[in-house]
């Protein structure tokens, strides 16, 4: 970690260190806050399921992209933000602004460390993983309007792709010998069968908000049922 950071600092120091130090603290705080905002927005875009969990529904019709390419891309994004944040001098900052600075540095460093350890190659175990997370979707997404239902249906259609992406990642883990121990990994297929048997994906059809019309309800139920039978269950 330290070696990694110092190499980043080296790069960072060659960029705007001199002009930074002459800018007054208020300007640097504003610059830092703008960077926080940009980084936060980038995370929400990159993790649409997290955005939904935070109550931000701009990406409510998408699942996370867990492909190896997306993981590598997000890692580059993290490195870039760390580099830019490091380049902001905190001299003269309030305790709170200093703490925010230190905290995001820490968050990004940890992600970079995790990436370098290929922690992402072990996304599933007997406790949870994409298979249980997706099964929790009906509980984890808003279902207050026709739009919310349509977002949910759109996510159902993306489940085969999402499971393929995680399969690709698991194969990379197999190659690197990064896998759960065998007797625990062996519990996972039975979990998937349990999910198929319980079919939690149909749950949103059991009860609708009163202001969704009966015609819409019928249509949404049909579309959810079709998505579950054609896409979700076969993919599981």
């Amino acid at each position: 970690m330290r070696i990694l950071l110092s190499s980043i600092l080296l790069v960072a120091s060659s960029i705007p260190a001199i002009s930074q130090s002459v800018k007054p603290p208020a300007e640097r705080v504003a610059q830092q806050n703008a960077l926080f905002e940009e980084q936060y927005e980038s995370d929400l875009r990159n993790f649409p399921e997290r955005a939904t969990a935070f109550g931000d529904y701009r990406y409510n019709d998408r699942l996370n992209d867990d492909s190896l390419a997306a993981i590598a891309q997000r890692h580059k994004t993290d490195e870039d933000f760390l580099h830019r944040l490091d380049a902001i001098s905190t001299t003269g900052f309030s305790d709170q602004d200093q703490l925010s600075h230190d905290l995001l540095i820490r968050v990004l460093q940890q992600r970079i460390t995790d990436f370098n350890l290929k922690e992402y190659e072990m996304p599933i175990n007997q406790q949870n993983g994409i298979h249980t997370n997706l099964a929790d979707l009906p509980q984890a997404v808003p279902l207050d309007s026709v739009k919310h239902y349509e977002d949910y249906i759109s996510r159902l259609h993306q489940i085969p792709k999402a499971l393929d992406q995680v399969t690709e990642v698991l194969r990379a883990g197999m190659k690197d010998k990064l896998m759960p121990v065998r007797f625990l990994a062996e519990k996972i297929p039975a979990q998937c069968e349990g999910i198929i048997a319980a079919d939690p994906f149909l749950r949103p059809t059991k009860k609708y908000p009163a202001d969704i019309s009966p015609e819409d309800q019928k249509r949404l139920t049909r579309e959810i049922t079709d998505a579950v039978n054609a896409d979700v269950l076969p993919a599981y």
Partner: protein, 285 residues
């Protein structure tokens, strides 16, 4: 724990524990009974919160069972939305209910609900004047889980655990987190086998058999996460003791709790530095 055993008229802890195993009063007769237990404890804690906190959660919390297909999962908390439209959810392990015990429910209800996870995380979601990334969990487990374990003891300070067996459950739950320090490092640093872990946990008497089995597998697949509970709780207690000692009559438990909560989730070293600065500023005020 031995003190409670003696007060209850037993010669030692072992015979008290043995009596609890066969005590029908603490055997759930249905999954629903376990859920009702959790609902009851959370409801009785809510009106007591203003004694311990200035900041209060603004969004609701609900209790539900873990679905059958996730039966291997442990009782946990799922965060709601900041607007409170989707409540925070305490999701409770109820499978094989006849093999479970009600003894720990009170401690776990405070841990997952209020003043534990729901309190901490929903307050964090609603903090004002901080960059948005600080309104969320950030994955600093020692703070989040340390807080929740610390919160179990706050039930005692609010006057609960009135049933001595429930208070024994609280201490068991704390013992369980201490046991994790031994077995997690045992597995990942000392080459312990699964059987060694199971045996050590059985001897500790801290948790029941289904919990021992699923927990052991959890530690195997999630290295070091289980350490965060006890380490975080010890740090928060240490900071509280320090503040109390330094501030003397100026120490106000509500202000201390607000100070721990209103910076959001932090790594323990940053939490400690922040609390030290707060103590210094309170001294001067």
């Amino acid at each position: 724990m031995t003190g409670i055993a003696k007060k209850e008229g037993f010669g030692d802890l072992e015979s008290f524990r043995a009596s609890l195993k066969n005590n029908a009063k603490y055997k759930p007769t249905s999954a629903e009974q376990i859920l009702d237990d959790f609902r009851h404890y959370i409801a009785q804690m809510e009106p007591k919160l203003p004694q311990l906190f200035g900041l209060l959660p603004k969004s609701p919390v609900t209790v539900e069972a873990i679905p059958e297909f996730q039966a291997a999962a442990a009782t946990h908390y799922m965060i709601g939305t900041p607007d409170g439209k989707r409540p925070g959810r305490v999701v409770v392990a109820t499978s094989h209910f006849a093999d479970r015990s009600l003894i720990d429910d009170e401690a776990v209800a405070y841990h997952e609900g209020v003043p534990g996870h729901h309190m901490q995380l929903s307050i964090q979601q609603q903090l004002q004047g901080l960059p948005k990334f600080r309104l969320h969990g950030l994955g600093f487990n020692a703070y989040v889980e340390g807080w929740a374990l610390y919160a179990e003891q706050l039930g005692k300070e609010a006057g609960f655990y009135q049933d001595p067996v429930s208070d024994y459950g609280r201490l068991s739950s704390e013992l369980f987190r201490a046991v994790r320090l031994v077995v997690d490092t045992g597995i990942h640093a000392k080459g312990w086998s699964r059987d060694q872990v199971v045996e050590f946990m059985r001897k500790s008497g801290a948790v029941d058999e289904p919990t021992i089995q699923s927990e052991t597998d959890r530690y195997i697949s999630w290295p070091a996460q289980a350490l965060s509970y006890k380490l975080g709780q010890l740090k928060i207690r240490e900071l509280r003791d320090r503040a109390q000692k330094e501030l003397g009559p100026k120490f106000d438990i509500r202000k201390f709790h607000d100070e721990i909560l209103d910076g959001g989730t932090l790594p323990l070293d940053l939490l400690e530095a922040r609390t030290d600065k707060w103590i210094a500023s309170q001294k001067g005020s």
